[in-house]
Amino acid sequence: MSTSALLLVLAALATFAYWSGKQRSLKLVGGGRGIRRLHSLPSYYGLLTALWCGLPALLIMGLWLMLQDTVITALVKSHLPAALSHQNAGQMGLLFNDIKNIVLGNIPADGARAEVRAAALDYQRLRGIASLSLTGLVLAAAVAGLALVRARIHPELRARNAVEKIVEFLLLGSSMLAIFVTLGIVLSVLYESLRFFNAVSVQEFLLGLTWSPQTALRADQVGSSGAFGAVPLFLGTVMISGIAMVVAVPVGLFSAIYLAEYANRGFRAWVKPVLEILAGIPTVVYGFFAALTVGPLLRQFGEHIGLHVASESALAAGLVMGIMIIPFISSLADDMITAVPQSLRDGAYALGATRSETIRNVVLRAALPGIVGGVLLAISRAIGETMIVVMAAGLAANLTGNPLEAVTTVTVQIVTLLTGDQEFDSPKTLAAFALGLVLFLVTLVLNVVALQVVRKYREQYE
């Protein structure tokens, strides 16, 4: 039975369980007025039955589906004739792709070798068995749960308490997911990174000055030495984020000041949402804008004044990224400025300060920690931003300080290393995870510091 059909059947069974549990509780007390003798409302007996019918079955199904493919692959592998099973992992991966494609009918079976065809048949047979036993197991679990609870229903059963315990447990489980996700990120990225650092030393990665991840396929190949010095990537990232900040911080900050302190209500109510549109635009749109509008524009302008601007310059990517971050900074700064108590302003006015003097010397100084926190968050966003740089910055890992040239960033390299064909044991793909680890750690530190600063500042005035 297909997964979706099984889910439907399970839902139907659970509905039946609800009805049957409820009916049974009513029947035990003779229905109608006898309801008073029940510990809980009849619907709780139904719910309890339904939960016990559905949840264990669902759990079994989830675990099974997660592990099914791995187990079947291992089984097929163990059944393979010796000639096929003594291959390296890359060839093995290709072989299994072939096998799966034959099973799915994507490539005709008669073209394949006899052993591969046999393996495909084996795979198909095992999948059939797996699917059948899954169906059996899940339905058995559901029916068993239903029958077990239904038989135990009697008027003194504390059904509500039991249901509420399950609900609370589910709520707790959902909130723990956040921890699991973080753990998952750390462990998966760390594991692959450690494998990478087996091949390339940490110093070489963090301090090396050349980045050329193409590893040689053959020993005699030219130009594919496989150098993994990530300094050019770090510098490229810093440069593009720096340009973005140079654009975003003044524009964002000044517009926040203007909107919070000078603009009248009508203007503010009209302009603020328009500026916030910039925050809602997907980054791929900014990438397109940077690559097809801003990039060529800068290039033409450079030619005009006699400068050579690369068509994928750091400047174009940085500028557009700055535009993307403007609303982020302006809305955070706006929050911080409006959180400054009016009494501080009134004090400054009373001493004869002008408006701008008040803002510069009193309001901004009071709001500074919050604004710094906001800028740190913005930097972390700029570093992690992917699509703009993938589309508008280059792939060449130049070690340069010139913003008119093409540079590459950490995120660009992650994307280029991991899209397209990949084999999971070459340093080339593993390098992407090492870069991901660096990215995760750097943004984590920035976020923690920024969130701490912002929170402390908020508490100060609340």
């Binding site: 500026l275 997907p282 397109f288």
Partner: protein, 429 residues
């Protein structure tokens, strides 16, 4: 220190002009920043609309074709399978040659045939398969013109540049002008853009495949992230005691909200694809990754909504004998629902625009077919935009902009719904 009043007044008055000037300057900086921000919005939308609106129209040619049995079925023994692979392109060529009888030679014929999209042959094949009785008959068909003709009609190819630098030759220009003159070549609403999947040929490429992929992915995301996020928010807001454990959860959620999205893609690749062996490019995995990505957003919004429900409601419910779970499910949750839904829609809007993590799990493949389920290979709108933006053909620029307009339309609808929901149902106590 012993300055007289008059002296002080003089000093202040002298400085006043400078200070007023500084005030004006400061205020102007602020105004300039706001105007700069606004002009970016205008520039962005202006360039998108200017480049994209024309993609909603498309050049079509009306040609008269002949389902010639001598070409399609020369021996008279062709089966349905043989007919499916017969040389329909030759029939299209013949039809064009009848329209311009003075065309001679291979090169010229090739140029002439290049005016019509190669989908014309497919159209013929489909129509014959639908109704085999068409064999031997003639009919007038409206077929797609090639992308170059389309771009020329839209004025995106400059007629004045020398022939060698132009995508359309002088000879082709003459044919096109003749076709336009007798009304058989014209621009019409581009239905294919909204009903077809991706294609290597710009004139045949549509967004429908990506839209369906997006819907599957978002449905998966919503089905998982909404219940989990609401449950987590309820636990943290209503049940959890403040201790180290819940602090840890909170810090985690706040951090996850700021982790770069591409890192979630790495997680998806390493865990869902490599450990669990889930299919690449599938909306199923895309949905799972986007779920993890949107969870923190929705949890934070839901907690804010739950927090806004006044404690008196909780106390009243508990006072009437409700259990804690009953208090939450019967009273607090319904009151907080508008706020939770608003947060969910905003989270979904974020998921809709997300591209980078989906590249990691292989949703970047070139997929022509419209996906039919959660495990079919699919792509989503933002990734489609990314793919088209990379294509070298001039005609894809216009399609990319148009796809962006479609994406932005979706976003506007979602955000507008969120705003309406908030204004309509949110209660203030």
């Amino acid at each position: 220190m012993n300055r007289s009043v008059a002296e002080t007044r003089e000093r202040v008055e002298k400085s006043l002009k400078r200070r007023r000037w500084a005030e004006l300057r400061f205020k102007t900086y602020g105004l300039c920043a706001v105007l700069l921000g606004l002009s970016f919005v205008v520039l962005l939308f202006g360039s998108l609309i200017a480049q994209g609106w024309s993609a909603f129209r498309q050049a079509y040619v009306v040609i008269e074709v002949h389902y010639d049995p001598a070409v399609l079925n020369p021996e008279g023994t062709a089966t349905a399978d043989d007919l499916a692979v017969a040389d329909y392109a030759a029939l299209v060529r013949t039809s064009l040659k009848t329209r311009f009888p003075d065309v001679e030679g291979r090169a010229a014929t090739k140029q002439l045939a290049a005016l019509v999209s190669n989908s014309a042959a497919q159209t013929m094949q489909k129509r014959l398969a639908e109704d085999p009785k068409r064999m031997g008959q003639r009919e007038t068909l409206r077929v797609l013109a090639s992308d170059k003709v389309d771009q020329l009609l839209k004025g995106r190819i400059d007629r004045t540049v020398p022939e060698a630098d132009r995508a359309v030759s002088d000879q082709q220009l003459a044919w096109i002008d003749a076709l336009v003159k007798d009304g058989s070549l014209s621009l019409a609403f581009n239905k294919g853009f909204f009903t077809q999947g991706d294609s290597r040929e710009p004139e045949q490429a549509g967004v429908w495949g990506a839209v369906v992929g997006t819907l599957y992915t978002l449905a998966m995301t919503l089905a998982l992230s909404f219940p989990i996020a609401v449950a987590a928010a309820i636990y943290l807001e209503e049940f959890a005691r403040r201790n180290r454990w819940t602090d840890l959860i909170e810090v985690n959620i706040n951090n996850l909200a700021a982790v770069p999205s591409i890192v979630f893609g790495l997680l998806g690749l390493a865990v869902f694809l490599n450990i669990f062996g889930m299919p690449r490019s599938a909306p199923l995995v895309g949905g799972l990754v986007l779920t993890l990505l949107t969870l923190p957003t929705i949890i934070i919004a839901s907690r804010a909504a739950l927090k806004a429900v006044p404690p008196s409601i909780r106390e009243a419910a508990l006072g009437m004998g409700a259990s804690k779970v009953q208090m939450v499910t019967h009273h607090v949750l319904p009151l907080a629902m508008p706020g939770i839904l608003t947060g969910t829609i905003i989270g979904m809007a974020r998921a809709l625009g997300e591209t980078a993590p989906l590249l990691m799990i292989g949703m970047v493949a070139f997929i022509v077919d419209v996906p039919k389920g959660l495990t079919d290979p699919a792509t989503v709108l933002p990734v489609q935009i990314f793919l088209w933006a990379d294509s070298p053909e001039r005609a894809f620029i216009e399609r990319t902009s148009a796809a962006i307009l479609v994406l932005l339309l979706f976003l506007v609808v979602m955000n507008a719904t969120a705003v309406i929901l908030r204004n309509r149902f949110e209660r203030r106590w």
